[in-house]
């Protein structure tokens, strides 16, 4: 089996996610981009699992964990974004510099 195509797909998907996280102003899109990066990681995990083919299939289990965590994260993330929007009437991350305080 050739792993290269999977790794390239993962890397491209990750780069897309990174781009989205860094460049989008809308918090919802930033969250979506984070999901893209998690998906890229999952692709890599699964690909390397198949490539290594160990007995307990650790890669796939980790991928399942990540999907679960990503679901939870999106839930909390969207809730936060929703609250911020409700307070500020905006979901623009540039206006959110409370971390500076």
């Amino acid at each position: 089996m050739i792993i290269t195509q999977f790794v390239i797909l993962g890397a491209a998907l990750f780069a897309l996610g990174v781009y989205g996280v860094l460049s989008r102003r809308n918090a919802v899109l930033v969250l979506l981009s984070v999901e893209l990066m998690l998906a890229a990681v999952n692709i890599n995990l699964v690909a390397f699992d198949a490539f290594v083919a160990d007995r307990i299939a650790g890669g796939q289990i980790f991928a399942l964990f990540i999907i679960a965590v990503a679901a939870a994260e999106v839930g909390i993330g969207l809730a936060i974004v929703l609250l911020i929007f409700r307070n500020r009437r905006s979901a623009n991350v540039d206006e959110l510099d409370l971390l500076k305080l």
Partner: protein
């Protein structure tokens, strides 16, 4: 506090010691044991006058004169009873004991401070002279000082003056002698400077005090050496040590220097050449002061001291080698100062220089071993010199000037003064049968004897040749004496009056003392006519030297040849004086006919000795030397101190600079670096999540790139 009180047993012991070894003399009984009153009463009265004088009768005069009357009376009684039986007594009161061992090489000796009183021929003679002459001068002073600005103060100091002298002559030890010695000095300072409004007068007073002080250091040192070597300051102990003989005793070893030092002390008080300079200036005081100072107190002290220490200077192996110096100094004084009297215009200065000259005679006599003659001259001199000064005072009182150029012709106006003055000047000149003739003749005889082979006056002591030379000088001095006295008499009493106003005779309170003193001047000589009456010899001393065989020489018969020579010199002096000053001249220049080149300027400038002292010693010390020391103090020693302070300040400033800029700087720098760094880092904290994320990824990329390219794994 009983230890503070005088111990009576000591006193008795002292009396016993004094009586020991001199059994043939009476101890004088209550008369002698009460003689402590003689010095004490005047001292106490002097104090009382200061405090209560103003309110006492005659503003202190009565108290002072009463005191002197007491002393005179006591002196006369003692004098007469001494002539009858001879008294020797010594009383002492202990004031303090010091130490156990340090004085002398005698372990166990104690330096005892004693106050005592000596009653023997020598001191009795002095009590008599001070008392009698003093009394007359004090009486006279009532008239002279009438209406003076500081009348009471004058009599207080005057009494102190006499009292100091009595402390001096009553002293049985050197310490008390020094006390009296200095008291006389300070009293003379007060009296000479009596009219201190004038700068000149206070300067004269200082001069007298300082010249005396210079000489006193000699006395101090001499007394210290003698006292330490003998182990006691008492005269009786010192005489005992001398009687025990010379050899290698401590006293004998230092005797020459001690004798010289003590003689220097005597030179100061008795104004011997070259320490005579204070006496003529001492004329700044009121005339009674001069009379007392020149006759009875102060200047006689030096002669008295030599008399008191006489065996020390005579016994071989002690200070006998100082004798030559004493004779030479005496002879120089008697001749050189006699010449100075010739060129003075101030009548008191003439008399002052004549005093110097006569003191020279006394000192010469003491040096030659003619103890009786020297003291006899002191005795007779007291009368005629007091007389002359009081006479001069009466004249000054009348003319209101000290200068003979303002006088002349006073014979007519002041007959009492004139006649008594003439008697005094004849007595001084040594005209036969007056007092001065006898005493001066005995001095000449004494010097002649020293020059003879039988006297044993060895070369080391001076030698016969020296004595003969001095004899010639002494006879020449007699001539000079008569010469200048004739001049003084003539310029004052003869010719025409050149002053202002009409002179008048002095009041009785002043003339009576003159008459009394004139009687003394005429008759005192008969107390001691060699071979005929020897009251004075008996009384004053010769007998007291029996412990020292053949120590003292006194003439026992009149040497007609010598007496003739002496009186011939005197008469010649009068005659020459008359021929020169007899004709009355008008101008000052003409009156000073003594214009021999070189000699005259030399005499006018007093041999330049005063100038030498002033320009050579006093001014350099007071001026440049003192200023140099003061400059050294302020600029050198103090520079070290101030410099240390200054240096400390400079160092401190440097340290502070280092502290502020160095140590503190480092701390401040670290703080500001931290702060600055923090401020820079703060710029990164924008609070924008995406920027953080950029950094995060950039960091990751760099790390990964690093790991990959350097293959850290």
């Amino acid at each position: 506090m009983t230890h503070l009180l005088a111990s009576a047993d000591r006193l008795l012991l002292a009396a016993e010691e004094a009586g020991h070894g001199a059994e043939e003399f009476a101890d004088g009984g209550i008369l002698a044991s009460g003689a402590w009153l003689i010095p004490v009463v005047p001292m106490v009265v002097a104090f009382l006058i200061v405090f209560f004088g103003k309110r006492s009768p005659y503003k202190g005069w009565a108290m002072a004169t009463g005191t002197m009357a007491f002393v005179a009376l006591y002196g006369v009684v003692l004098f007469i009873s001494n002539l009858n039986q001879g008294i020797t007594y010594e009383g002492a009161v202990h004031l303090a004991d010091i130490g156990t061992q340090s004085l002398g090489e005698h372990v166990g000796d104690i330096f005892a401070i004693e106050w005592g009183w000596m009653v023997d021929g020598l001191s009795i003679m002095m009590y008599f002279v001070v008392g009698v002459v003093g009394l007359l001068v004090f009486i006279y002073a009532k008239g002279y000082m009438e209406g003076d600005v500081r009348h009471t103060w004058f009599f207080a100091s005057f009494t102190l003056f006499a009292g100091g002298m009595l402390v001096l002559v009553s002293a049985p030890n050197l310490i008390q002698l020094i006390v009296g010695w200095e008291l006389v000095g300070v009293a003379s300072y007060l009296l000479i400077g009596h009219y201190w409004e004038e700068h000149e007068n206070s300067s004269a007073a200082i001069k007298a005090f300082l010249v005396n002080k210079v000489a006193d250091t000699g006395l101090f040192i001499g007394a210290i050496i003698v006292g330490t070597s003998v182990g006691s300051f008492r005269f009786t102990d010192i005489m005992e040590a001398i009687a025990a003989g010379g050899g290698d005793t401590p006293l004998a070893r230092f005797a020459f220097w001690a004798g010289l030092a003590i003689f220097i002390g005597a030179m100061g008080k008795s104004a011997q050449f070259p320490l005579h300079v204070w006496l003529p200036d001492a004329m700044a005081g009121p005339t009674p002061v001069s009379a007392l100072m020149h006759a009875a107190t102060m200047v006689t002290a030096g002669v008295y001291l030599i008399g008191r220490m006489f065996p020390f200077y005579m016994v071989e192996g002690f200070a006998d080698e100082v004798r030559g110096i004493i004779i030479v100094i005496g002879a120089l004084t008697l001749f050189l100062t006699g010449l100075l009297a010739l060129v003075q215009d101030d009548i008191k200065r003439v008399l002052a220089y004549s005093t110097l000259s006569q003191l020279g005679y006394m000192v010469t006599a003491m040096g030659a071993g003619a103890y009786t003659a020297g003291l006899f001259h002191l005795f007779t001199h007291a009368f005629f010199k007091a007389l002359l000064f009081l006479g001069a005072g009466a004249v000054i009182h009348a003319v209101h000037s000290n200068n003979m150029s303002d006088m002349g012709g006073l014979r007519k106006y002041m007959p009492y003064t004139f006649w008594t003055f003439v008697i005094g000047s004849w007595a001084l000149a040594g005209i036969p049968v007056l007092a001065g003739f006898w005493s001066k003749d005995e001095i000449l005889a004494g010097v002649q004897f020293a020059g003879s082979s039988e006297s044993g006056f060895s070369i080391a002591q001076g030698g016969a040749g020296l004595a003969n030379l001095v004899l010639v000088v002494a006879i020449a001095g007699a001539f000079v004496t008569a010469f200048y006295m004739t001049r003084a008499v003539w310029l004052t009493f003869f010719g025409t009056y050149k002053g202002h106003g009409t002179p008048h005779e002095a009041p009785r309170v002043m003339t009576y003392p003159l008459v009394g003193l004139a009687a003394g001047s005429a008759l005192a000589g008969f107390l001691n006519v060699p071979g005929v009456t020897e009251f004075f010899t008996e009384g004053v001393g010769a007998r007291f030297f029996e412990g020292f065989g053949g120590l003292e020489h006194h003439v026992t018969s009149i040497d007609w040849a010598l007496a003739g020579l002496g009186s011939a010199a005197a008469i010649a002096g009068v005659a020459v004086g008359y021929t020169i000053w007899g004709p009355d001249r008008e101008t000052q220049q003409a009156r000073d006919t003594f214009s021999i080149p070189v000699l005259y300027p030399l005499l006018r400038h007093k041999y330049y000795i005063d100038d030498f002292y002033m320009d050579g010693v006093v001014r350099p010390v007071r001026g440049p030397l003192a200023r140099a020391v003061n400059w050294f103090n302020d600029h050198v020693i103090d520079l070290v101190v101030n410099g240390a302070g200054w240096l400390a300040a400079v160092v401190a400033r440097a340290v502070y600079f280092f502290d502020q800029r160095g140590i503190d700087g480092a701390i401040h720098a670290s703080a500001s670096v931290t702060g600055g760094g923090g401020g820079l880092l703060r710029l990164l904290q924008t609070g924008k999540v995406q920027q953080y994320a950029i950094l995060l990824f950039a960091g990751t990329v760099i790390l990964v790139a690093g790991f990959v390219s350097f293959a850290i794994f």
